[in-house]
């Protein structure tokens, strides 16, 4: 049973515009949420995270929003750049050590 879902397998955005990647989860015990970026033939790279006590966290061009009542997480990239083209995974963690990952969204930024 997929506890973390990314319902859009792919997304295309023009360079300079905003990219919005979405993620939904089902487990209300999750208290830590993360986004990873993955290029082909490489391991995922940690991008940004947010604790359940916050609703927003920013790091440069990347902002993560958390809506606990809707069990929804989103990653905003502004402005999008061609180098942002990659697969993005969201992940969540309850108390404990195991992480749960979504199936990924492939972002293409068109120059």
């Amino acid at each position: 049973d997929q506890q973390v879902k990314q319902n859009s397998p792919s997304l295309s955005v023009q360079e300079g515009r905003i990219s919005i990647l979405n993620c939904d989860y089902t487990n209300s015990m999750f208290d830590y949420f993360l986004w990873y970026k993955k290029y082909p033939a490489e391991g995922p790279t940690f991008l940004i995270s947010i604790s359940s006590i916050k609703d927003k966290n920013e790091d440069g061009r990347f902002t993560v929003f958390l809506n606990k009542s809707a069990k929804h997480l989103s990653l905003h990239i502004v402005p999008s750049q061609p180098g942002d083209s990659a697969v993005y995974f969201c992940a969540a963690r309850p108390a404990g050590n195991q992480f749960y990952f979504g199936t990924g969204t492939s972002l293409t930024v068109i120059p």
Partner: protein, 113 residues
């Protein structure tokens, strides 16, 4: 910088062979993980370990075993490789604590013929 290394980037094995994938981390992390990544399925957890000699099954442990004799090293073993184990294998580590991310190695692309 956190460094997680995996013994091979690419590996080709024959059906029935015993396969060892090694992972080493240099950040003194307590937790280590093995995932496989397949198109459309995301990252699926095979096994994880939260301490030396400790292991827990993940979502898809069948056909795999693990070994953690030292804190920095976590090995994944395919006892008798099969073609459906052709995949990208990813190792990760993390520190215990609520707000600590996982850090991944570069991955091993395993092909079983």
């Amino acid at each position: 910088d956190v460094k997680v290394t995996q013994s091979s980037r690419y590996l080709v094995k024959r059906t029935g062979e015993k396969v060892f994938l090694e992972c080493v981390q240099d950040m003194d992390h307590e937790n280590m993980f093995w995932y496989r990544q397949d198109p459309g399925l995301g990252l699926r957890l095979i096994y994880f370990s939260y301490d030396v000699k400790m292991k827990e099954k993940g979502d898809i442990p069948e056909g795999y075993s693990v070994s953690r004799e030292k804190k920095e090293r976590f090995s994944l073993i395919l006892e008798s490789a099969s073609t459906n184990q052709t995949s990208m294998y990813l190792c990760a580590s993390s520190s215990t604590g609520r707000l600590n991310p996982q850090y991944f190695g570069p991955g091993t692309r395993l092909t079983v013929l």
